[in-house]
Symmetry: C2
DNA sequence: GACTGATAGTACCGATCGTTCTTATCTTGT
DNA sequence: ACAAGATAAGAACGATCGGTACTATCAGTC
């Protein structure tokens, strides 16, 4: 048995490697459908290491989703700061998601997918999905306040509906064109706000 | 072992009973998470009968989704015909889904949920989900043509984005209020179209 | 150079999965 | 009365699941 263990002894790197592999496998195959063995193989890790680091499959799922939502938030915050203040900052969010839809292997929003797979359960996935939606709502509300709309909270919720609707349909139909469509809807809603 | 088999010998009724039970279990627990045993128990049917009627779990899933999309289509077609011609017919669709969100046990759109659970796969769920979206698109396009908007196809796609976005968020957040929110968005889009 | 800690690989466990099969019971048609 | 067909109940099967245990191998430390 050729074994070459202990190759990378940085625990943090190992953990990150498992997280990245799990995110990829969960996205591509679905959380329920993917097994721990599959994640372990994709990560080049043993199941022992996965359970040492994350305790259980649910722990791994929660860690993957938490990591994902933080990355997405940082991603949007950065893109918004890059854009010129005003209406462009709102549209920058939708430009970003339009490019996301066009990525190979795009399968929709990981948080919404996980919450959907869980249906009735009130576990971490649903909580993280709700938090994720709240992030978008707060981000939009802040940007809408900057441009001086009358009711930022209401319009922000509208934009979240458009964002998630376009994301879902783009994933189901494999159509990156939803990004452009969402942008048009958003411009209409901003004009009316 | 008290056994009372052969009680209802109407094969069609048995099939319908299994379909209804499977739809309920799949909705409440998720398609992957629910097992055939669970469906059989909920239906008061044996696994033999399920496999005789539907061949496999995939066959049952496809039958449940097909039945569901046909019911939803009939439901919307009927509601639209009841409403006065014109803009009200479009809003009637969203009034209907608003009441749907408020139903106990609402868990979102069965077709989108099934397609989401399946992720990458190109099986029946994804095809049925795409067909379901196409139905909404065609329905809206027809109603929008009636009210004489400039580009019915484009606006129809926008309304589908709003419908599915509101449905997804309402399911994740357990908030029936998304129905009213969707209606406001739709009115704005109609005003601009 | 022995010790320690992290790891890969793998066998293993009980549970559950989808699926098939057997048996007994019931209804219907003759 | 009896045969035929449908069904419920549930045992059984192989596969796979989440999770654990064991072993061998490596890097770094003393």
């Amino acid at each position: 048995m050729p074994v070459k263990a202990g190759e990378r002894l940085d625990p943090e790197a190992t953990k990150a490697r498992i997280l990245a592999a799990a995110a990829e496998v969960f996205t591509r195959r679905g959380i329920h459908a993917a097994g721990i063995n599959e994640v372990a193989e994709a990560a080049g890790a043993s199941k022992l290491t996965i359970y040492k680091n994350f305790g259980s499959k649910d722990g791994l799922i929660e860690a993957v989703l938490t990591d994902r939502t933080h990355r997405v938030r940082a991603w949007h915050n950065h893109a918004v700061e890059q854009a010129a203040p005003g209406r462009d900052r709102i549209l920058a969010v939708f430009d970003l998601i339009a490019s996301w839809y066009a990525e190979a292997g795009f399968r929709g929003c990981a948080m919404m997918n996980a919450a959907t797979e869980d249906r009735g359960q009130d576990g971490a996935p649903r909580r993280l999905a709700a938090d994720h939606l709240a992030f978008y709502r707060d981000l939009f509300a802040r940007l809408l306040t900057e441009v001086g709309v009358r009711d930022p909270g209401t319009t922000a919720r509208q934009l979240v509906v458009v964002l998630e609707g376009a994301t879902l349909i783009s994933a189901v139909e494999r159509d990156p064109g939803l990004g452009a469509e969402a942008r048009v809807i958003v411009e209409t809603l901003l004009d009316a706000a």
